[in-house]
């Protein structure tokens, strides 16, 4: 089956970040698999209107008002008319939202359900349960996810967190990790790598007097653990004389960091690089031996995969989804506290000096573990499951049997009926449930209004980007030749239709 998919999120290029590159990579790999993908995001400075990216990915930069950290102002209904227009003209079947802080994404899922489309939501972050902001966000998330077909989380920890926050059925939540483009994160010398492909040579040993460089690359925010870094930095440097630091990134904590360096007179041993573009990350990474990641909360942590891919030994805190990301021989874990980070860094330095860690093998191992093709394939399976191509038992591996199934009852694989949807929303809370029902009813009335005053017949259909003719050799390599052939036949059919 081939789908027309709309990725909706507030976060997209030109802004750098994990969600942004996730959406881009996933979309382009889905396009390679024969789907049609568009991205709907808000307008950035100097980036408005309709754009095409490489690989014929179409991006709608909807002009909207940005409030906080590139998030648009949550106006529940004002996005609907333009969203409906885009959905109709692109003939979208599945709406895939990203990021629970993106009001764009949450609104899109609500509207898509009103329009009778399949919806998927990907959660990229972890949240707490205690503070006021989290409670509000969680309530909103619960509202939106009351009526969604499937949820994807980037790690099992994130899945657990989302299931609790939005009170979902764990069955309708999948864990599909992020990936990295391993080719962009090669270790320092390519000839050494090719040498290892044939036969691993003796590990290069670091003598006790060789300088070990520790790289830190993160936005300098509280949640990224910059305070821990600031506390641990002078102690690590005091304990290990032949250690240097390279710190890249910017953020509100940069001043604290600079003050610490000045107070302890560490300018000659710590290099601050400031903000680094995503394509320069590799060049910074390969200058070091150890990557230190002191984050306090992290759903997945793509950056540590990138670091390992560059051949760095990773020291990180055991929080969130991080322990799932890399195998134990690539990482040294620490508790998120000052003493333990100092200790773990010490262990890592000792291990490197002793030559116990084969960092030069990391790249190929990471390459095998994480690839976007694999992620796209797994996401495609989710799409198949929610649109009924895979049978219910096949999709959920026979997890729930019997007449009433939790997933169907909850996610409503079949039912788009307003009354069914209202039942789901009503369960959100004593007051919230009624409020949400009201919102949904207004949304539905708005939909009816639009159908009358901006009928579908008045909306031009956008033409699809002419697809590349795939070489059959490429296809057979993937092992999905059969489905590809089917797809090409279907494509022909679709072309016939557009011509008539």
């Amino acid at each position: 089956m081939h789908y027309n998919i709309a990725m909706v999120s507030d976060f997209f290029f030109p802004q750098p970040g994990g969600i942004e590159s996730h959406i881009y990579q996933l979309s382009s790999k889905l396009i390679d698999r024969g789907h049609k993908v568009i991205v709907i995001t808000h307008a950035y400075a100097g980036r408005t209107g309709v754009r095409y990216l490489t690989n014929s990915l179409k991006v709608y930069h909807v002009p909207f008002f940005v409030v906080y950290r590139e998030t648009t102002f949550p106006t529940v209904f004002s996005f609907f008319p333009i969203f409906r227009n885009i959905i109709i003209r692109e003939r979208i079947e599945i709406v895939h939202g990203h990021g629970s802080l993106s009001s764009f994404c949450l609104e899109a899922i609500l509207h898509a359900r009103t329009m009778g489309l399949r919806t998927v939501f990907t959660d990229h972050s972890l949240f707490g349960f205690a503070d006021a902001a989290s409670i509000l966000t969680n309530k909103l998330l619960k509202f939106i996810l009351s009526d969604v077909d499937h949820v994807i989380c980037v790690s099992h920890t994130s899945k657990e967190n989302t299931v609790l926050r939005a009170s979902l059925d764990p069955l309708m939540v999948s864990a599909i990790p992020n990936a990295v483009v391993a080719e962009n994160f090669r270790p320092r010398s390519p000839n050494r790598e090719s040498h290892h492909r044939s036969a691993p040579g003796p590990p290069p040993r670091l003598s006790p007097n060789d300088i070990i460089t520790i790289v830190v690359l993160s936005r300098l925010f509280y949640n990224k653990g910059t305070d821990l870094l600031i506390a641990a930095l002078p102690r690590i440097l005091a304990l290990h004389p032949n250690v240097r630091f390279i710190i890249a990134g910017s953020g509100p904590k940069a001043i604290d960091l600079e003050q610490t360096i000045e107070r302890h007179v560490l300018q000659d041993r710590v290099t601050l690089l400031g903000p680094v573009r995503h394509d320069e990350v590799r060049d910074v990474m390969v200058q070091g031996h150890i990557y230190l990641h002191p984050s306090l909360t992290e759903a997945f942590g793509t950056v540590i995969v990138e670091a390992a891919s560059c051949g760095l030994y990773v020291v990180c805190t055991r929080v969130g989804g991080i322990p799932e990301v890399l195998p134990t021989h690539m990482t040294e874990f620490a508790k998120p506290e000052e003493d333990d980070i100092v200790a773990a860094t010490g262990r890592a330095i000792a291990a490197l000096r002793a030559g116990k860690v084969r960092t030069e093998l990391f790249h190929n191992q990471v390459k095998q573990m994480y690839s976007w093709q694999d992620i796209a394939q797994r996401t495609e399976r989710v799409y198949d499951g929610i649109s009924g191509v895979l049978s219910h038992d096949e999709f959920y591996q026979g997890a729930s049997t019997g007449g009433w199934t939790a997933t169907r009852g909850r996610a409503g694989v079949q039912s788009f009926a307003l009354i069914e949807r209202l039942k789901r929303y009503y369960g959100c809370g004593i007051w919230a449930g009624k409020l949400f029902c009201l919102c949904v009813i207004v949304d539905y009335l708005l939909y009816v209004f639009l159908e009358i005053f901006a009928p579908r017949s008045r909306i031009d259909l956008a033409k699809n980007w002419p697809k590349k003719i795939l070489k059959e050799t490429d296809v057979s390599k993937d092992g999905t030749g059969i489905s590809r052939k089917r797809s090409s036949r279907r494509r022909e059919k679709r072309e016939d239709r557009t011509e008539t």
Partner: protein, 222 residues
């Protein structure tokens, strides 16, 4: 009921007329002007013109009478002298004031001269250039036109943009040395089918035989 609502809120239908007087000249006109075809429609059309004329003449007559109440004795005004004298003259001279008469007459004439439709066109001359034009909202006022010589045309393409709560297609011309593109039918923004016809025709006319093959390719790809 729903259909009635839809019809009332729908924008006027646009029609494309192609004019090719010589092989190297082609004009495309998009217009919202309704073309009367049936007999009642034709009658309605001519009657409305007649009504407009009569209303206009009456408005002028009122103005004249106000200005010179004794104008009816003038031989020039003998054409409509008699009935105007009987029905209007006395009252106009007496009761109406200048401050009401002048705006009222101006409003009537504005209503009469207002064009009920928009007409936008592009005229292409092989080897010379192209001219875009947009009709004015009033009769008697000339259309806004712009001529672009072939040497400064860099490209002509169809793209999409946000307009209100919609995404619309538009036909744009890239001009050498200008920051913004020129949109060809800026007010009407016709639908994709019309734009594609115009785009193909424009490319064929501007770039001659060489790009005919290219156009065909695009057709196949779509």
């Amino acid at each position: 009921m729903l259909q009635l609502l839809q019809r009332l809120t729908s924008p006027p239908t646009q029609r494309l007329t192609t004019l090719q007087p010589t092989p190297s000249t082609v004009g495309f006109t998009v217009s919202t002007r309704p073309v009367p075809e049936t007999l009642p429609a034709l009658l309605q059309y001519y009657i409305s013109i007649l009504l407009r004329l009569i209303t206009g003449v009456c408005a002028i007559a009122v103005l004249l009478l106000k200005w010179k109440p004794d104008i009816t004795r003038n031989p020039l005004s003998a054409i409509f002298g008699l009935w105007v004298e009987q029905f209007v003259a006395a009252e106009v001279a007496g009761s109406l004031r200048w401050r009401y008469v002048v705006p009222a007459v101006a409003a009537v004439w504005y209503a009469i001269l207002r064009r009920g439709y928009t007409e936008e066109s592009i005229l292409l001359l092989h080897g010379l250039g192209l001219q875009t034009s947009t009709s004015s909202s009033m009769y008697l006022r000339p259309a806004t036109t712009r001529f672009i010589p072939t040497t400064s045309i860099q490209d002509i393409f169809i793209h999409e943009a946000f307009k209100g709560f919609e995404v619309r297609f538009y036909l744009a011309i890239v001009i050498k040395g200008e920051e913004d593109v020129v949109v060809v039918f800026p007010n009407l923004l016709p639908r994709r089918e019309i734009l594609e016809v115009v785009w193909r025709g424009a490319r064929k006319c501007l770039y001659g035989g060489g790009t005919v093959v290219k156009v065909k390719q695009v057709e196949e790809e779509g």
